[in-house]
Symmetry: C2
């Protein structure tokens, strides 16, 4: 692996749990991705914004943001699309 | 104005109302922005994904995505941060 990279998946835990996980990962990696889908997308943006605010003086910032969609099989057997987001937080190269 | 640009703000209307507004704007402008904050952020991603899927054969795609936060005054007088998103959908220049 030429580039180490870690992903934080946002679910139903309290927001600060994900903020803490992200900060711990950022102490070890130059770049992490915060991922979420569906109703958790807003929370992923919250986590990224809180992390960015807490680390901006240490030289981190929001990187690429990607959105997409995934097909999920619902319980009645039909498939439906769910939106996804991936937000990168990275150490600035200076 | 050297660059015409329109913004669609996502609120509580049915999703397809925003999809329709966005498609109408895209017929007239080379680039539009879909904006939302707080709980509407996930819906903004949904709208952008639906529009992108409907227009990809016509040469449109998702452009820059920005996240941010705004300070809101809550009713008890305290201020709190709310996350924001801005998703660009644009005609591909070829």
């Amino acid at each position: 692996m030429s580039e180490s990279r870690e992903t934080i998946y946002i679910g139903k835990k309290p927001l600060m749990a994900y903020v803490t996980s992200t900060l711990i990962q950022l102490a070890n990696q130059p770049k992490i991705s915060i991922k979420a889908r569906g109703l958790s997308i807003g929370r992923a943006v919250d986590v990224a914004q809180i992390v960015a605010r807490k680390t901006e003086n240490a030289g981190y910032s929001i990187g690429n943001i990607k959105i997409g969609s995934e097909q999920l099989q619902s319980q009645d057997g039909r498939s439906r699309n769910v939106s996804t987001i991936e937000i990168e937080v990275k150490r600035n190269t200076s």
